[in-house]
């Protein structure tokens, strides 16, 4: 197993405070950032999916958990914890903004 290139966290130094902090940061980003993006995607999908209202709402919620998983993988694969955080927050904010702007379209039958 090759060592991780510099910039990414190395597993061979598991006791440093920096390492622990990075684990905590990414796990938090995966869970709560992931939830934000999942929520935003469910909101947006409830607006844009080509179905009737109840089917849009349910399908969007079902898919949002797949989005959550994908986001978590992205956060841990990102080059740094910081990069994971800001991309996730930005994506969530943009999607939520779009959903709120066209909020009333979600109410169509």
């Amino acid at each position: 197993m090759s060592e991780a290139p510099s910039g990414h966290l190395k597993r061979r130094q598991p006791t440093t405070a920096r390492y622990r902090w990075a684990v905590f940061s990414r796990t938090t980003a995966a869970l709560f950032g992931g939830y934000l993006v999942a929520y935003a995607s469910a909101a947006l999908l409830t607006i844009v999916l080509p179905m009737n209202r109840i089917n849009r709402a349910v399908t969007a919620s079902l898919l949002s958990f797949v989005v959550w998983t994908a986001v978590a993988i992205w956060v841990f694969a990102a080059r740094s914890a910081w990069r994971g955080w800001w991309t996730v927050l930005a994506a969530g904010a943009v999607m939520l903004g779009l959903a709120m702007t066209w909020r009333d379209c979600g109410m169509r039958p």
Partner: protein, 522 residues
């Protein structure tokens, strides 16, 4: 690039897995036992074992519920089924906690409450702690989903070595093989359980669809799901109330099969309405047909529209998880796969500590490693013991005890706490794994004996004579599981001779790297 990606996935797998493994183990064990929740309920209610044949007293049962909850808005009554001879009542009363009771099917009286198999079911979906528990279980489920997906990425090599299990190699290798065996070969099940488990409660925590589609109006959302408009309140009491027995008979005839439940909505209003849901246990997605009756005179109003396609998908997914279909055979398959999941989690926690054995020894017990080791014993060996203790409490506690169901639950927690304390105390010098597994084994093997002593009419020989295979099944399964736990206890009495060998193989593989590369996970 690729190596880095796999490494970061190993990371996610390790840490997402570790922080959640104990909670997840409790959820998994609870869910595994809840495969047979109704059967355990039945075992824990001896009143039902000697039931004389006779008609079903739905109306008397409803009267009992109305008396217990005079301001109830909605009542649900499950008629007896093949799995459960009692009538189940759910009551929704504004400002009161939801009530869930079992009623005698002959006279509709309340059966003395027990924690029952339902205890494990509630533990499974909210850790017995209400809505915050639902959130916590949802998060744990999400972490499990993550651990599984990342596990597939980092264990790709395992798919080539599909059939390899080397318990003799000892130490981390053996634990890892055990983890891979149950994790990889059970992967479709685990993935299904994690995803469907998370989506079952999605309307609690993924509310965006309701917010955007219905401006947060949950009632409107549920109305759209059910396909039947909610009755409009008329603000005057009903002139009379229809007979539930007649409605049930009519519904069974119209559906050509059993009824899952009767729902009585607007109990105290002239708009009172009774709906009958088809049991649908011949379909994964469950019943789709709902018959609607007028609640005052019981005349048939019609059938509700079939559920929307996406909701049917949801029902299929949650049905896969809740396994109310297909009878005992499928439930046994789920039970065994759930047990495999428990082993996957237990071995994972063990791999984590074995992999860090040297650091753990150096850091001593007053460290994070000590905490992990203590939690491993306290949860993995403690919870099975507490679960058996619940069954023991059911038979040991005096019959006339007030709040007997609570006492049963308290004994579960008390035994678990004691087991945890024991684990901590004995971690330094003793063999806490052996102690707890051994005690569990003894209690399980003795359970049929205890049952025969306290409930002679429901003893193993008596229930064999009665062809009561549910009771036979529970006694026999406890007995057999007892030997499984005895083996685990024996396994944990062996000296840890493999440590040195493990260190040697590690050194060898580090120098040559000819061996199969060590897993990056832990």
């Amino acid at each position: 690039m690729r190596g880095r990606f796999v490494q970061s996935m190993a990371w996610l797998h390790t840490w997402a897995g570790l922080i959640v493994s104990w909670v997840l183990f409790a959820i998994f064990l609870g869910g595994t036992l809840a495969c047979f929740d109704k059967e355990l309920d039945y075992w824990m209610r001896p009143v039902l074992h000697q039931l004389a044949p006779g008609p079903i007293a739905m109306d008397a049962a409803a009267a009992t519920l109305r008396e217990m909850a005079p301001h109830a808005e909605t009542l649900y009554l499950n008629p007896p089924s093949t799995r459960d001879p009692s009538i189940r009542g759910f009551v929704f009363e504004p400002g009161e906690p939801t009530m869930y009771v079992a009623l005698n099917p002959r006279d509709g009286t309340l059966i003395p409450p027990t924690a029952g198999g339902n205890f494990f079911f509630i533990l499974h979906y909210n850790l017995q702690s209400g809505t915050p528990g639902v959130y916590l279980v949802g998060l744990a489920g999400m972490l499990m989903l993550l651990a599984l997906v990342t596990g597939v990425i980092i264990h790709r090599r395992v798919f080539k070595d599909f059939f390899v299990f080397r318990p003799q190699s000892g130490g981390q290798r053996a634990w890892l093989d055990g983890h891979n065996l149950t994790g990889v070969l059970g992967l479709p099940f685990h993935l299904m359980i994690a995803y469907t488990g998370v989506i079952i409660m999605m309307s609690t925590y993924m509310t965006a669809g309701v917010e955007i589609g219905y401006h947060g109006d949950l009632a409107a959302y549920y109305e759209a799901l059910s396909g039947a408009p909610h009755p409009v309140e008329q603000h005057r009491p009903p002139s009379r109330v229809a007979s539930l027995n007649e409605v049930l008979d009519d519904a069974v005839q119209r559906l050509g099969g059993p009824v899952q439940y009767l729902e009585i909505a607007h109990v105290h209003d002239a708009s009172i309405t009774i709906s009958a849901l088809a049991s649908g246990n011949d379909e994964v997605a469950g019943g789709r047909r709902t018959l609607i009756y007028d609640g005052t005179d019981g005349h048939f109003r019609g059938e509700s529209a079939s559920p929307p396609a996406a909701y049917r998908t949801y029902q299929f997914l949650s049905g896969l998880h809740r396994v109310q279909f297909g009878g005992a055979a499928i439930r046994w398959l789920y039970f065994l796969l759930g047990a495999a999941g428990c082993v996957m989690l237990a071995t994972a926690a063990q791999v984590w500590i074995e992999k860090r054995h040297r650091q753990a020894v150096a850091a001593g017990l007053r460290s994070g490693y000590g905490l992990v080791r203590a939690l491993n014993v306290a949860v993995i060996a403690g919870m099975p013991l507490a679960s058996v203790a619940l069954l023991w409490a059911n038979r040991m506690l005096p019959d006339n005890l007030a709040a007997r169901a609570d006492w049963e639950a308290q004994s579960f927690y008390a035994v678990w706490l004691l087991a945890a304390i024991w684990a901590v105390l004995r971690l330094r010098a003793g063999k806490p794994w052996r102690d707890l597994f051994g005690t569990t084994a003894a209690l399980l093997i003795a359970l049929p004996v205890l049952n025969a002593l306290t409930e002679p009419l429901s003893s193993l020989p008596a229930s064999i004579a009665d062809h009561d295979w549910v009771l036979v099944g529970i006694d026999a399964t406890a007995f057999a599981l007892g030997f499984g736990f005895a083996w685990l206890a024996w396994f944990n009495t062996r000296p840890r001779k493999n440590l040195r060998r493990d260190a040697r193989t590690r050194a060898a593989s580090a120098s040559s790297h000819a061996d199969r590369p060590r897993e990056r996970s832990a």
